[in-house]
Each structure stands twice: as structure tokens, then as C-alpha cells.
């Protein structure tokens, strides 16, 4: 793989995001694979923000540790990001705005370009972003006209003049750099084979799309970073399918709405992040007890409490596994990729209906907000199932009132549902312990029968998710992770393998029901495993210990500063944990 890292940084409100996005889309359309990452703060204006793009000639799943070209709109951008500069990197700044300085001894080229000046000439100061894209094009030797289509898309509706002015800004930036500097950083070669799809999509978009394709026809949600984008996406697309998005008054309303709609026969979900998820704990139990399908997407952010609302983390694992009082069956999926965001969210509706349980999809800010190039979405792999239902004929065939919604004699624990409106299908869905038709009861034997029925439902759970093993199958060393770290862990495995370590990468894309047998098998013979996760206490490692043991085998690699983990951080920790003799 060949790759290059690019970053633009400045103050919130300066258009950093749109600059990055335009550049990313342009590269994507050229045929490159890009992976983007937005760094932003929980305030509206001011505050440092940046947009990182990693460009490669094959699919990349991580934003990369290094920056080869940095566009710095202020000194803060340099201060906050110089550690990532690759040797020989180019740093572009506008000397008319501030006097840039790099730490002593850093091997990088500081290039002063009058970004704002050029922009003003081209038609307005705000186009300094486009100028900087032009400069970048010059550094990489990309023909500036390559940006025309994106500019057209972005500014087309503002008129041809605006389009031309922006293109001119790009051209001028390009020209200025060319005539003043000669450092150039080559782009990776264009990918040979390009998929027919070649999509540029974020985890949140993929989640929305998956929901839509999986049958979701109602989203009830309350705005919260970083999950609101799912709401936006579905607001745009659901109504066309006759679906509806409800902005609820709070997360408690949202999740109960999703339960109500599912009860009434409409696949529905709610999307949220940590604080909202915590507010849903009571309703989670209702879905479990009443056997009502429910899908909750939790796009994790950095906690606890309000925490760092615009930063990433994988620390809601425990709450997803153990939240709510009492005991319910639940499914917790932890997609590893944007493709899995799409597929698992789609599947979640089938699983929720098939098993009549709540399904939680645990994504995170990093995966949710990082737009990236992928080859295609695995539509043909989507599980489609509306679950066991009583047809009108089934119900008619029964004596009046004879339908038993919660039939605890079902060997699988799953008893077919009826839907309000269906004749002879009446029952009560409820959070109280109940008998077959949904009346509150307290008889001990009914309680036990119903509790066992609920538990039985997941005994033979089947879904294309669980444990994946990459690398040397019987390696004595292993990296372990779950969810969005799959990409960086694959890179770490490759790096460690290159260093001579016999290693595998075990990854969980589902944590409940826990794939214990597969995990046992994957861990068999492992002498030392490094469990990499973005939280402070090692929740995944704890889960593995609880489920299959291996207390002496597991070591933690924890990151909880809000930023996504870097490859080098994993490698540094690996060096401490794996036999150092092997690594040089």
C-alpha cells in the first residue's frame, strides 16, 4: 500500500470541514481510496478544528498516523499537529495572517503562501480554502481541473460565476506554489482495479442507509453529537419510503416511541450517544420483557457524563451489555467497518423481529463521522426477516380468544406475534411479568416459564457476526479488539508480522450473545494477547475474562484521551507486551 496524509486546520467556523470534504471527494472521484477524520470541539466558533485525509491506492480503514501536507490557518494548528508531520512534510501557511514556526529540528518545509491575498483576488477571502486546495494540488502534482466536478456539485446552485471563481482560486493557489516552491510529494499510484461502486460514505450515513434498507420506517430520536447525522440522513430519505422521523422531546420519549411503533408492526429505531443511551435503560427492559423488537444505535462518544462530546471512545460497552435493571435477552452488534455499519443496522431489524428482542448497534464517533472510500455495500448479505408472525389466516383458524401471544411452550422460546388491527389476535404487551396473553401474573411457575422462554430465544442465535481471526491461525500472540478498531489493528498486525512476530488478530463484531466457543477456539494456544480498546478500564478484556477466562494471557492497551488510536501507539504497547527478542 502507498499512502499520503493531508490535513487542514484552523478555527471552528472557518470552513475547515468543507475544505477537507471537497478535497476528499475530489480524490475519491479520481479513484483513490480516502479515509477522513474530523477533529472538532464542543463549541460553535473559535477552538481548533482540523480535517485529516489519508489517501491510498487501496482500501484504508484508518486515518493514518502521519501528515505529509499540512495546511495551517493558524499557529495552533501547527502546535497541535506537528507531532504527526512526516519527515519532509510540507506545511502551508499564510504569512500575512501569522508568522508560523515549527519546533526546532523538525524536518519539514514551511511554505508561506498568501492564501487570503490570492483568494481576495479570485473573488473573496472565504475562498482561501480553495486556494489551499490548489496549493495542495501543486505539492502533489494534481491537475487543478480535476476539482471542477466537485466545485460544480458544491457551488453549482450558486451560479456559474461562483463556480468559476472557486476554480480560479484553486488554479491560482496551484500556480503560486508552483512558481515559488519546488518541494513535491508524490501521490500514491492510482488504484489499478476500481470497483464499480467506489463509494464515499461515513459510518453514520451507512447506518442510516442500513436502517432504511433493513426496513426501518420510523426513527424517533433526539439530537446528540455524534449521532444526529443518522437522523439527518433519514430525514432526507425516509419520507420517500412513506416513513417518518420524529424528533422526540427527549431520549426517553424516543425509545418508547420506537417500542410503540414496533409493537404496531412498523420496524422502528432510535439513534443516540452515551447520555441519551443512559436515559434509555428503563425502556430497554420494557422491550426485553414485552418481547417487542427494538433497534437502538449508540454512536459512542467520550464519556462519562457529558464527557467530551466531540471525541471518540468505546466506553459504552458495559452499559450496552449490562444496562437496565433485571435481566433481558439482548443482541449487541459492534460493526468493524462502515460496510458493517450498513449491514448490521439492516440486519438489526431482522434480528429484532426474529428474536423479538432489543438489538443494540454500537458504533462510535470515529467510525460514525469518518467518511471513507469503500468498494461496495454488501447488500446481498443483508438478513431479511420479519420474524414469526401470525397471519390473518392463522388467527382466524383459532377459536375466538385462543391466541396465546407469549406461548411459553415454544421450544425456541420464540412465539409468533400478532399486530394490532389483526382480528382475533388481541393481547397485551407489557413490562410486568405476564401469562400467555399478556395479563399480569405473579404465580411463580408462570414467571419461571416466561423467564426461561425469554432466555431460550437466543440459545440458538445465528448471525454473520462474532469473532474474526486474521493472520496466523495458531499464532502464540494475538491482538484483540472490537468494533471500529479493526482497521488499525489489521495494520498493527501487518506491522508486527513484518517485524517477525507470529501473530493473529482476533476481532469481535458481536459481543452479545457472546460468541464464546469461537472465542475459546481463537484464544486456544495463545500465550499473550493484547486487548486494544478505547476506554480506561478495559471493558472488552473484562468481558473476555468473564466469558472464557484467559486472565493470565490478556494484557490491556487502553486509550482514552478522546482521539482515535494511532498505529504507533499500538506498536509501542505491543513492544512492552510481546517478547521483545522477536521485535527489533
Amino acid at each position: 500500500m502507498h499512502d499520503v496524509g493531508w490535513k487542514v486546520g484552523g478555527k471552528q467556523g472557518e470552513g475547515i470541514d468543507s475544505t477537507g470534504e471537497i478535497y476528499a471527494i475530489a480524490l475519491h472521484r479520481m479513484g483513490y481510496y480516502v479515509f477522513t477524520y474530523r477533529h472538532f470541539m464542543s463549541l460553535i466558533k473559535g477552538g481548533h478544528t482540523n480535517y485529516k485525509i489519508r489517501v491510498a491506492d487501496e482500501v484504508v480503514r484508518h486515518h493514518g498516523d502521519l501528515v505529509h501536507v499540512l495546511i495551517a490557518f493558524d499557529q495552533t494548528t501547527i502546535d497541535e499537529n506537528w507531532r504527526q508531520l512526516a519527515p519532509g512534510a510540507v506545511v502551508i501557511y499564510d504569512g500575512a495572517t501569522f508568522q508560523a514556526h515549527l519546533p526546532d529540528g523538525l524536518q519539514a518545509h514551511l511554505c508561506d503562501v498568501p492564501l487570503t491575498g490570492i483568494a481576495k483576488e479570485a473573488g473573496g477571502a472565504i475562498m482561501k480554502n480553495m486556494v489551499s486546495i490548489g496549493v495542495t494540488a501543486a505539492v502533489h502534482g494534481i491537475d487543478p481541473t480535476a476539482f471542477l466536478p466537485v466545485i460544480q456539485d458544491k457551488f453549482g446552485k450558486k451560479g456559474e460565476a461562483v463556480v468559476q471563481a472557486n476554480l480560479e482560486a484553486v488554479r491560482q493557489g496551484y500556480a503560486y506554489y508552483r512558481s515559488h516552491y519546488d518541494v513535491s510529494i508524490p501521490m500514491p499510484p492510482l488504484p489499478q482495479q476500481r470497483s464499480s461502486d467506489h463509494l464515499f460514505i461515513s459510518g453514520n450515513q451507512a447506518t442510516g442507509f442500513g436502517a432504511l434498507d433493513g426496513g426501518c420506517r420510523m426513527l424517533a430520536a433526539y439530537p446528540i453529537t455524534p449521532a444526529t447525522e443518522i437522523m439527518y440522513w433519514l430525514i432526507e430519505h425516509l419520507p420517500k419510503q412513506g416513513g417518518v422521523v420524529l424528533q422526540a422531546e427527549d431520549e426517553i420519549a424516543a425509545v418508547n416511541m420506537a417500542i410503540g411503533a414496533n409493537y404496531a408492526g412498523v420496524p422502528a429505531m432510535t439513534s443516540t450517544s452515551g447520555p441519551g443511551f443512559s436515559l434509555m435503560m428503563e425502556a430497554l427492559g420494557l422491550a426485553g420483557m414485552s418481547e417487542t423488537p427494538l433497534v437502538i444505535v449508540d454512536v459512542q462518544r467520550s464519556g462519562p457524563s457529558t464527557g467530551l462530546p466531540t471525541k471518540t471512545e468505546q466506553s459504552d460497552l458495559n452499559e450496552a451489555l449490562y444496562g437496565t435493571h433485571g435481566e433481558i435477552p439482548r443482541v449487541v452488534l459492534t460493526p468493524r467497518t462502515v460496510e458493517e455499519c450498513y449491514r448490521f443496522t439492516a440486519d438489526a431489524f431482522a434480528l429484532a423481529e426474529r428474536y423479538q428482542v432489543p438489538v443494540i448497534v454500537l458504533s462510535d464517533l470515529y467510525m460514525g463521522m469518518s467518511a471513507q472510500s469503500i468498494d461496495r455495500l454488501p447488500r446481498e448479505e443483508v438478513t431479511r426477516d420479519r420474524g414469526r408472525r401470525m397471519s390473518d389466516e392463522d388467527l382466524q383458524a383459532l377459536a375466538p380468544g385462543a391466541y396465546v401471544r407469549y406461548d411459553d411452550s415454544s421450544p425456541t422460546g420464540i412465539s409468533p406475534r400478532s399486530i394490532p388491527g389483526q382480528r382475533n389476535g388481541r393481547y397485551v404487551a407489557l413490562g410486568n411479568e405476564h401469562n400467555g396473553i399478556g395479563l399480569e401474573v405473579e404465580e411463580q411457575y408462570i414467571r419461571v416459564a416466561q423467564a426461561n422462554k425469554r432466555r431460550r430465544k437466543l440459545a440458538h442465535f445465528a448471525h454473520q457476526s462474532g469473532v474474526s481471526v486474521d493472520g496466523v491461525k495458531d499464532a502464540p500472540f494475538a491482538l484483540i479488539g472490537f468494533g471500529s478498531t479493526h482497521g488499525v489493528l489489521e495494520e498493527a498486525r501487518a506491522a508486527l508480522a513484518r517485524q517477525g512476530l507470529t501473530i493473529k488478530h482476533i476481532h469481535l463484531s458481536r459481543v452479545a450473545p457472546f460468541p464464546a466457543e469461537d472465542m475459546m477456539a481463537a484464544l486456544a494456544g495463545v500465550e499473550r494477547a493484547l486487548v486494544v480498546e478505547l476506554n480506561q478500564t478495559g471493558q472488552l478484556a473484562d468481558l473476555i475474562r468473564k466469558e472464557v477466562g484467559f486472565h493470565d494471557v490478556l494484557s490491556n492497551c487502553l486509550k482514552y484521551d478522546g482521539d482515535p488510536i494511532e498505529l504507533r501507539e499500538i506498536l509501542a504497547r505491543a513492544e512492552q507486551v510481546f517478547p521483545t527478542g522477536v521485535l527489533q
Binding site: R29, D197, H198, L199, F200, I201, Q205, F209, L212, D213, G215, C216, R217, M218, A220, L238, P239, K240, Q241, G242, G243, V244, L246, A248, E249, I252, A253, A254, N256, M257, A258, I259, G260, A261, Y263, A264, G265, V266, P267, A268, A283, L286, L377, R379, I419, P420, G421, Q422, R423, N424, G425, R426, Y427, V428, A429, L430, G431, G438, L439, E440
Partner: protein, 287 residues
């Protein structure tokens, strides 16, 4: 045509004499009068003695969580506009823990009927102060009398321009049935607050208490139930002790009539499948 029998389920577990029997009866009567089929009615209730309504009324039932009947009921209705949806619960459920949802359900104006069995007490938990308890009420949690002002359900609803605001009394189920019938016919969110005595834990707000004090606005030819500000004044002057339709406004569109893209056919009847063409169309936005 359905009859009362069709709306009966198991024998209710309320205390003998509980006002909620009257509410059940009135709901059943209204359902018959409206010509509903039992399977087309969904009662979504919260938790409380009143919350057992979803089990006692012979339709589909959803016995949700304490305070959460309204969000749940709104979604049931949106999911299937062919259903007649009741939300039902107690004063604690609806005006205590559920207060936020109450105000927002009014704003949203989804076409459901909300019946609050207001006994000024927490019944199921055996007699604590409720948000509608009058100042000075002595209960297990207020042995020296409550000091908070009671919730004013009608006034709050009127303030938020609720399109249908009514009150009824368990001592007059015939009238209550008429009120509920009108509430169901109203398109949009309707509130029916019912004085439904708790004979076990509230000895003050009894049948006698209400019989003596209530004024029936429906029987007052001079009362105009379309003047919101006048309604607020009247309710305030009567110290809330009125029954009948306090206010009705038929002009405001219900949510389901107003929201973009909402289909004619019940959502629950549509096969939730994305066509290949639509899938491709969406895919193109990611290229």
C-alpha cells in the same frame, strides 16, 4: 357491530368501588357508540392502578412504563393511522413523571385520545401525594400536608392550544362516554381528565365531594367551548371543578396531516422494502 361484551376482558382487579370501573365502562360505551371493532382499538397505559386499563379494556393493549404511555401511544398511532389509540393512566403517571411528554404530546397533536384517571393520589403504591393533590393533602408522603400547588391539567392543555380539552367524572359514566366519544372523533390530540375517586386511599376527593361541586359545562347553553381564553377563565373561576368539553378547536391540522411524506395507507401495512431502483439512486449519492 360490536357490543359492550366485545370490549370486555378479564375481570378487573381494581378495589370495589374504584372510579376506574366507571372509566372502563365509559370507554367501552364510547367504543360501541363509535362503531369500533375491538381489534382496531389500542389502549396504551402507564403504570398505576389506572395503568391496568390496557389489560381490562378488550382491545389490543400496551402496558408501557410509568409515565411513558404518551410517547408510546403516539408512535402506535403513527405506525397505523387506522387504529383508534387511547393513552390512559393516572395523575401521577401523566402529570408527575410523565409531565414532559404530556406537554409535548399536545404540541405534536397526533390524533390520539388521552384519558387521565385523576384520583389525586398514587393508588397502586398505596397512597402517596400526587401532583394533583390539593395543597394541604395528608398522605403517606405528606403526613403534615402537601405544600406544592397542584397541577392544573386543563389550564396547561389550554395554554398549549390543545385542540380538545375535556373533563369527566366517574360518577357519571353516561356523560363520560359522550365526552370520550367526542374526544375520539376529534382529529388531533384530545385530553379527557377524569375525576376517578380512589376509594381506598383518598377519602377527601370522593364521589360525594365531586357530586356536590361539579358543574357540567355541556349542560350550560351559554358556554362557548370554542373560546380558548374564556375557557381558561371559566376553569379558573370554577376552581377546575367542571366537567364536559371545555374547549375544542377543529382548525389545527393533526401531526399526521401536516408532516411531510406521511402516507395515506397505514405505515404498518406497507411492506418495508427498498426497491432496487431506489437503492441505486441512493447509492449514487455516495459516488
Amino acid at each position: 357491530m360490536s357490543t359492550m361484551k366485545d370490549f370486555k376482558a378479564e375481570k378487573p382487579t381494581w378495589c370495589p368501588g374504584c372510579g376506574d370501573f366507571g372509566v372502563l365502562n365509559a370507554m367501552q360505551r364510547a367504543a360501541v357508540a363509535l362503531g369500533l371493532e375491538p381489534e382496531d382499538v389500542v389502549v396504551v397505559s402507564g403504570i398505576g392502578c389506572s395503568g391496568k386499563m390496557s389489560q381490562h379494556f378488550g382491545g389490543y393493549g400496551l402496558h408501557s412504563l410509568h409515565g411513558r404511555s404518551l410517547p408510546t401511544a403516539q408512535a402506535v398511532k403513527l405506525a397505523n393511522r387506522n387504529l383508534t389509540v387511547f393513552a390512559a393512566g393516572g395523575d401521577g403517571d401523566g402529570y408527575g413523571i410523565g409531565m414532559g411528554h404530556f406537554i409535548h404530546a399536545i404540541r405534536r397533536n397526533i390524533d390520539i385520545t388521552y384519558i387521565v384517571m385523576d384520583n389525586h393520589i398514587y393508588g397502586l403504591t398505596t397512597g402517596q401525594a400526587s401532583p394533583t393533590s390539593d395543597v394541604g393533602s395528608q398522605t403517606k408522603t405528606s403526613p403534615r400536608g402537601t405544600v406544592e400547588r397542584p397541577i392544573e391539567p386543563l389550564q396547561l392543555a389550554l395554554s398549549e392550544r390543545c385542540g380538545f380539552v375535556a373533563q369527566a367524572f366517574s360518577g357519571d359514566t353516561k356523560h363520560m362516554a359522550q365526552v370520550i366519544e367526542r374526544a375520539v372523533r376529534h382529529r388531533g390530540f384530545s385530553l379527557v381528565n377524569v375525576f376517578s375517586p380512589c376509594v381506598t386511599f383518598n377519602k377527601v376527593n370522593s364521589y360525594e365531594f365531586y357530586k356536590e361541586k361539579l358543574v357540567n359545562l355541556d349542560a350550560d347553553p351559554a358556554y362557548d367551548c370554542h373560546d380558548r381564553l374564556a375557557a381558561m377563565r371559566r376553569v379558573a373561576e370554577a376552581d377546575n371543578l367542571v366537567v364536559g368539553v371545555v374547549y375544542e378547536d377543529t382548525e389545527q391540522p393533526a401531526y399526521d396531516d401536516a408532516v411531510y411524506g406521511y402516507p395515506e395507507e397505514p405505515l404498518a401495512h406497507l411492506e418495508p422494502r427498498l426497491s432496487d431502483a431506489m437503492y441505486e439512486e441512493i447509492l449514487a449519492t455516495f459516488r
